[in-house]
């Protein structure tokens, strides 16, 4: 009787045991168990909102209640093409992205090159350069607002030393300049660290060999450092581009007055995501706003793919050994 029971148990357990014993299954389950925190987060906080936003972009949803939601086809996408504010904000966004990404990369790389050299106090300077990166964006915006304030800001005071009658309301008269400089200032530390890591990965013997062959610092930079750093430059370029296309906090925080749903940056800083935000939360066009954001996603994707494709010409990877 006992023996029969054991036999039944063994029989019942066998398929499960066999399934579990398969090495591939065990590996797959283990793999997905390990990535499940990210996967669940991505699905719940990324994929589902994206899907809902896509569905929303084909409706007239205005955020108030769902009773009046209707399918409107591609109307919201057609509207975007004919909306002068959309075109204006995209134009301003491209100006901002071009300026910020270019200047940002130059400053980040420049800072990394300077602080890669064995100079005294290097650690202190690395910390100082990195500091703005950890300053919260709200605090950073206030620093810049105070810095550029026409009624007692440091910037006007410094210029006033050489030009006594100088007076400029920077965030009104030069809003994009202030926005670009603020953004570059805030992001320099993060990019600098990435470039520093890249620089430290370049074999010293390559530089030494070039120097023995008579290459000066500029030649070493041009023919050794930059080519070997190209994958890092590409990475920073892509990340900066995507980040700059999506920027919203900085122009709103630098806008005059206190922050609220109706906060409006100066027209020059009326960037694309600010426009989408306004359409959603001020004009109650949630469906249209969602369409604007999907269009932005497609444009960003296109620019990124173009960048990656162009990298075949200027980015060289080490061959696998």
């Amino acid at each position: 009787m006992v023996g029969t029971a054991h036999a039944l148990e063994r029989t019942a357990a066998r398929p499960r045991s066999t399934w579990w014993r398969r090495r591939g299954t065990r590996r797959a389950v283990t793999f997905y168990a390990f990535i499940s925190p990210w996967l669940i987060g991505f699905v719940a906080l990324g994929a589902i909102p994206l899907l809902l936003a896509l569905l929303m972009s084909f409706t007239n949803y205005d955020g108030l209640n769902l009773d009046y939601v209707r399918f409107v086809g591609a109307d919201n996408y057609a509207r975007a093409v004919n909306d002068p504010d959309t075109l204006h904000s995209m134009q301003r966004t491209l100006v901002f992205v071009g300026s910020t990404v270019t200047l940002g990369l130059v400053v980040q790389l420049g800072a990394a090159l300077l602080l890669d050299a064995p100079v005294p106090g290097r650690g202190l300077f690395r910390t100082l350069f990195y500091l703005p990166y950890v300053v919260p964006v709200v605090a950073g915006a206030w620093i810049w607002k105070i810095f550029t304030d026409p009624n007692g800001g440091l910037l006007n005071a410094l210029i006033g030393l050489v030009k006594p009658e100088f007076a400029m309301n920077w965030i009104v008269e030069q809003p994009t300049t202030v926005l670009v400089l603020f953004t570059v200032w805030a992001l320099t530390g993060g990019g600098m660290v990435v470039f520093l890591a890249g620089l430290q990965g370049i074999p010293a013997e390559l530089k030494e060999a070039a120097q023995i062959d008579g290459a000066g610092p500029v030649s070493v930079l041009r023919f050794i450092t930059l080519p070997l750093l190209a994958p890092v430059i590409l990475f920073q370029l892509v990340v900066s581009l995507i980040g700059a296309m999506q920027i919203i906090q900085q122009p709103l925080l630098l806008a005059p007055g206190l922050l609220g749903p109706g906060t409006l940056p100066p027209r020059d800083n009326y960037l694309y995501v600010v426009h989408a935000y306004h359409e959603i939360f001020v004009n109650q066009r949630f469906g249209y706003g969602a369409a604007l954001l999907w269009i932005l996603f497609l444009i960003t994707l296109g620019l990124t793919l173009a960048l990656v494709r162009s990298s075949r010409r200027w980015v060289h990877y080490e061959e696998a050994q």
Binding site: Y32, L64, A167, P256, G260, L264
Partner: protein, 448 residues
């Protein structure tokens, strides 16, 4: 073999993930489609309001009086919309008058008329006139059933003068007994306005809170002549075709163009109340509530409250915010929500608020509780007592657009006009076109 098994696992996981995702995605939609609103009584009432004006003492007083548990959620329009979309809005939430017609016409808030009719605390005869902003009969603000109540309010078009700016300009501070006309106010503002070398000392006349309430200011000026910013059915904004509206907006535009008022080209990094406290504004248009904070270290003893100016000689000084509470139409326990509402509006918290001086009480029977201890408070009460005679009116907010749609459109086009990129007339037609576009969208949504 190993590879085949691994593929099977990946597919299975993705399949299950997809099912999970669909479930999560559908949950709020399913919840939103539920029509049952009164089946669950949890003994808890969720209130979305500003924690700065609804403190721990209020919560305790209400919980003690009603034996209900309160959950306070910070006021946040985005979150409110999300909660509505998920079918789980707060039971009570803070609103301003501008949003009320839209909430009512979209059936988002509950008709409280039966509760008011039965209440022994909030009696209709005792309600301050500002509560008329919570009435909407589908056609006009101020008629029909009550859907909410002000927590407190102010006649909002009164002025606060910083006497130091007047003294420095050698100009006499106007009388606090007779109202100025808007034209006199403009002329006075020109005299006390001071800016030199790009640095601002005093703005002459600041109003509308960084233009956030520009439509309300214009509406009140137009209402003196029995006119409205919108057509009778709210289907269009009446600006370019209305000579009086053009005059009103030209006046407001000129204040900005002449540098008397804060504007997109001459902004303040602060809100206008703080600027007044810092002694940077000569004349500020704000309601009675501001008297509770008008006297800072800088402005103490140098602040005078003045009557609301008139556009065409007709005195009119309603509230422009009417901040108060409404009840969600989807509340699961309206009786419990009403108990909280009634206690907050007419119980101990209301008495405390009345004595604080942060607004005129929502009940006339509490008017006598307003503070009159200091000389400034006495002067304020003298002006307020007169203004209350002219504060019965309402402003006709458009039910098809958001609270900030008009003002944001105004600011957008004002900047380009002030920078000389478009003319004043073009600015007005642009504003009208944008606002009418938003109205058309709102009407289309409700099938009109």
């Amino acid at each position: 073999m190993e590879e085949r098994v691994a593929r099977y696992g990946r597919r299975e996981v993705l399949k299950r993930t997809g099912v999970l995702a669909a479930g999560i995605a559908a949950a709020p939609l399913i919840a939103a489609c539920q029509t049952s609103t009164t089946t669950q009584k949890t003994g808890k009432v969720v209130v979305m309001t500003d924690p700065n004006e609804f403190g721990a003492e209020d919560v305790k007083a209400i919980e003690d009086a009603t034996k209900l548990k309160l959950e306070v959620v910070k006021s946040d329009l985005t979150r409110l919309y999300a909660m509505y979309a998920a079918g789980n809005p707060p039971d009570l939430f803070r609103v301003q008058a501008a949003g009320v017609p839209q909430y009512i016409s979209r059936k988002m808030v509950k008709n409280l008329q039966p509760y008011f009719a039965a209440s022994k605390v909030l009696k209709p005869d005792d309600l301050a006139p500002s509560n008329n902003f919570y009435k909407w009969d589908g056609k006009v603000v101020g008629k029909g059933d009550l859907y909410g109540m002000v927590k407190d309010w102010s006649p909002d078009f009164t002025l606060f003068a910083y006497t130091k700016a007047f003294d420095e300009a050698g100009v006499k501070v106007p009388s606090d007994s007779a109202p100025l006309s808007y034209q006199e106010l403009h002329d006075l503002a020109t005299k006390v306005n001071r800016k030199s070398g790009g640095k601002r000392t005093y703005w002459g006349f600041v109003h509308s809170n960084n233009d956030q309430w520009i439509d309300r200011t214009a509406m009140n000026m137009l209402a003196e002549k029995g006119q409205s910013l919108y057509s009778a059915d709210f289907s269009t904004a009446n600006i370019t075709g209305n000579a009086e509206a053009v005059k009103v907006f030209k006046y407001l535009y000129d204040l900005a163009a002449e540098g008397l008022q804060q504007s997109p080209v001459d902004p303040s990094p602060n809100w206008m109340g703080a600027d007044f406290n810092n002694g940077q504004i000569a004349i500020l248009q704000y309601g009675y509530w501001f008297s509770a904070m008008a006297e800072s270290d800088t402005t103490k003893g140098k602040t005078v409250m003045l009557p609301a100016p008139t556009w065409s000689g007709t005195r009119r000084d309603p509230t422009m915010t009417a901040t108060g509470w409404v009840m969600s139409a989807q509340t699961k326990d309206p009786d419990a929500a009403w108990a909280v509402f009634e206690t907050y509006m007419g119980g101990a918290p209301a008495v405390t608020r009345a004595g604080s001086g942060w607004g005129v009480p929502g009940l006339k029977s509490l008017y006598a509780k307003m503070p009159t201890d200091t000389a400034f408070q006495k002067q304020v009460q003298k002006v307020l007592g007169d203004e209350l005679k002219y504060s019965d009116g309402v402003l006709q907010f458009n039910p098809y657009i958001g609270e900030e749609t008009f003002s944001t459109t105004w600011k957008k086009h004002l900047e380009t006009a002030l920078k000389g990129q478009i003319s004043f007339d073009k600015m007005l037609s642009n504003i009208e076109a944008d606002v009418n576009g938003a109205i058309a969208d709102g009407r289309k949504i409700v099938g009109q």
